[in-house]
Amino acid sequence: MIKGDYSTSLLSMRGITKSFAGVKALKGVDLDVRAGEVHCVLGQNGAGKSTLIKVLSGAYQPDGGEIAWNGETVTIPDPVAALELGVATMYQELDVVDGLTITENIYLGHELSTAGVLHRVAANRRTRELLTRLGHGDLNPNREVGTLSAAGKQIVSMARALSHDAKLIIMDEPSAVLDSEEVNNLFRVIHELTEQGIAIVYISHRLEEIRQIGDRITVLKDGASMASGLAVADTPTPELIRLMTGRTIEHVFPSRRPVPADAPVLLEVEGLALRGVFSEVDFTVRAGEVVGLAGLVGSGRSEILETIYGARKATAGTVSVAGSKLRAGSVRHAVNAGIGLSPEERKSQGLLLEEPVYKNVTLATFARYARISVLDERRERSVAREQIDALELRPADPDRTTRNLSGGNQQKILLARWVVEGSRVLLLDEPTRGVDVGARSEIYALIRRLADAGNAIVVVSSEIEEVLGLADRLLVIAEGRVLTTTDSDSIDEHGVLDLVMKGTAA
């Protein structure tokens, strides 16, 4: 590896390698970050982004390669060393303590104190300064962090990084938990940080975002850097996708077939309400149809799905599947009637992460294959293997531990679960959250295929573009009310956003 000129770089990583139990997660990654820039790291799941971050934040030790900080070679033996160097990390699962105040969170581990007695006033004053630097001087330092939104927690996490005098902040998919308004705010804060000379390493797979905020890009694929330090402005999107996936992607959304007028109504929701969350939700979904629910985070979209499914007990209204009414608040009844839910939080609500793939595929059906209650694991494996082939799940191994699969493949497991159960109504909550670009279009195609096979599908997504691209019809939701129901061809992204904003203001 040719040694580059480090003088212009704040951070320079060269030829970083890292293996786990013989599997090479990083096969020689280069990353150069300059002070005051937003450097995006782009790559599909499994490309090595998280491993790279963990090497940089001191959580993992690299097997080979060199790290230079301000031109000097350094080692980062642990996270404390990283902080001392000036590298702070904002993880996707924010590591803030809900029960503590903003100040207590910011100074956690490096409290301002004399002989163990805390300087509360000084700490609060400095916290206010830090928050002001981030453009959020209005936040009360004594507020409990648990009462903040995800966006607020990110601000706290960033303030903590600043309190450590960070020169470089790593942000791991910060926009994943934010709605569009909050994302804009985040970008403003990032801009203020870079103005102060702080470098940001921004991990994301949303290309539009990277275009908006990034200065330069490093693209990872299969543990190697495909391109280092490309200028965002000079790199067209198709080129980025090609670097990430090794192939070109043309049609992201599969084409829609018109739903025949005589297709039977599979799901009928009438006057559904959940006190304090949403009310008067009416819609029907026919066989072969995809209906999308569009709205901001907190508009009640996920709750609507969960109530249809019986995971929450409706306070009014009815849900019918193929004409027969469901008992309110009974998941069991909904499943037996043919509804399947792919929940919003795939990991915490959907999967047994430590179990093999096949047990997750058959979680709703294992009893069916059993004989007098004795499990038939061979049958379960073969059922799972059929789905693995049909849905192109990778790796194609029913015995692989589910935790080790990418987000897209974990999503396929959930779809497979309900396909084998024989569900005809699929409720998909954020089906592409944490799924990278290449795999997204695969999921879209899969959803469309399931619809074409005669299933009724309801999709919830915070990405309006996704709902528009997938759904035949659209329900626009704000503050627990359905604002409008429309064909998705007769409205565009701006139209939906307009409605949502007006609806929220009203």
């Binding site: 995971a311 609500q349 047994l352 430590e354 059993a370 499990l375």
Partner: protein
């Protein structure tokens, strides 16, 4: 994805040798390997310090018989812990069930010919108490630690009221002959333990009941959203644990030929220790009956060696405490290694 790859599918009957070996190590055998090694080491220590006396076949029977009562309780406990719960009431339930059983004799409800009734009553009381635990936990949404702690206190008190704080001697010859007798030279107490272990292993590893238990312990919410009857199943787990405590109550009654409210004290802690040392995760989602049985045997072999070397009870307790920590530390290392492959 591409037609050029020619790698054959890695599964099928023609698996290579090292792969089989690695699977063996990564599987339950590998996880239990540490325990087997520990048990072998303990036997070696026993042989060195106790010599012939320890290595005598009769002594091995003594060791297993000593562990059999704890073993039955620990097998019930394995199910509860695998599902992410805990049952602190089992020791008290042993006391309660032994008292109820002995009372049914004293009150002549059970006679010389119908002593089986005594056994049935004891087990039923255990199951009923477990049912109450389960209802409070699953439907009342009280955390298992608190719910079963309350049962621990209440059951002990109830046993004292029933027994009037006195020991009820049971001299039913049929009952005692049966439970103190043996089959093929092996005491019935051991057979009960073996039976419980085999049934428990089968139930946990091979049936839909076991799959539900592991699923609920691994991810309660995901299990609920997949349509499993999580509440009903939770109740059944505590009933199972209560039934096991009832059986253990009968066993201790037979061994001591007396029912008293102080029976089974601290058995809950020994059972939890054996389960955890055996490799069942305290957070749930992974459980092994084979591990639990090995855990029980380790503790019972240790007690045997201690007694043989005339160590006093206090010293024994200190050593046991150290061993629990060391065993769990080793277990974690083994688990980490086998899960990474």
């Amino acid at each position: 994805m591409s037609e050029t790859t020619t790698t054959p599918a890695p599964s099928g009957p023609g698996e290579s040798q090292p792969n089989v070996f690695r699977r063996f190590l990564a599987g339950s055998a590998g996880r239990n390997l540490g325990l087997v090694i520990a048990l072998v080491l303990i036997v070696i220590v026993g042989a060195i310090t106790g010599g012939e006396r320890f290595l005598d076949l009769g002594n091995f029977v003594t060791i297993v018989r000593y562990g059999s009562i704890l073993g039955v309780v620990a097998i019930g406990m394995t199910f509860v812990i695998t599902a992410g719960g805990i049952d602190l009431s089992v020791g008290s339930l042993m006391g309660l069930t032994s008292v109820v059983a002995s009372l049914s004799w004293v009150q002549t409800a059970a006679t010389e010919t119908t002593w089986v009734l005594m056994v049935v009553v004891a087990i039923a009381v255990g199951g009923l108490a477990g049912f109450i635990n389960g209802i409070v936990i699953a439907y009342g949404k009280v955390v298992p630690f608190i719910a079963t702690l309350a049962m621990l206190v209440a059951a002990r008190g109830l046993a004292e009221i029933f027994a009037n704080k006195s020991t009820q001697v049971v001299n039913v010859t049929g009952f005692l002959q049966f439970f103190r007798g043996d089959l093929l030279g092996i005491p019935w107490l051991i057979w009960i333990f073996v039976l419980a272990a085999v049934v428990g292993w089968f139930l946990l590893a091979r049936t839909t009941y076991g799959r539900r238990t592991i699923a609920i312990g691994g991810n309660y919410e995901a299990s609920r959203l997949a349509g499993l009857k999580v509440k009903r199943h939770t109740v059944s787990l505590y009933v199972l644990s209560g039934l096991a405590a009832g059986i253990a109550g009968v066993m201790i009654l037979a061994r001591t030929n007396a029912g008293t409210s102080t029976h089974g004290q601290l058995y809950e802690l020994d059972a939890i220790a054996a389960v955890v040392v055996g490799g069942t995760l305290l957070v749930g989602g992974r459980g092994t009956i084979v591990g639990t049985v090995l855990g029980v045997l380790i503790f019972s072999a240790l007690t045997n060696i201690f007694t043989m070397n005339n160590l006093n009870i206090s010293t024994q307790q200190v050593i046991k405490g150290v061993i629990i920590v060391v065993a769990v530390l080793l277990q974690q290392r083994f688990a980490a290694r086998s899960s990474r492959t």
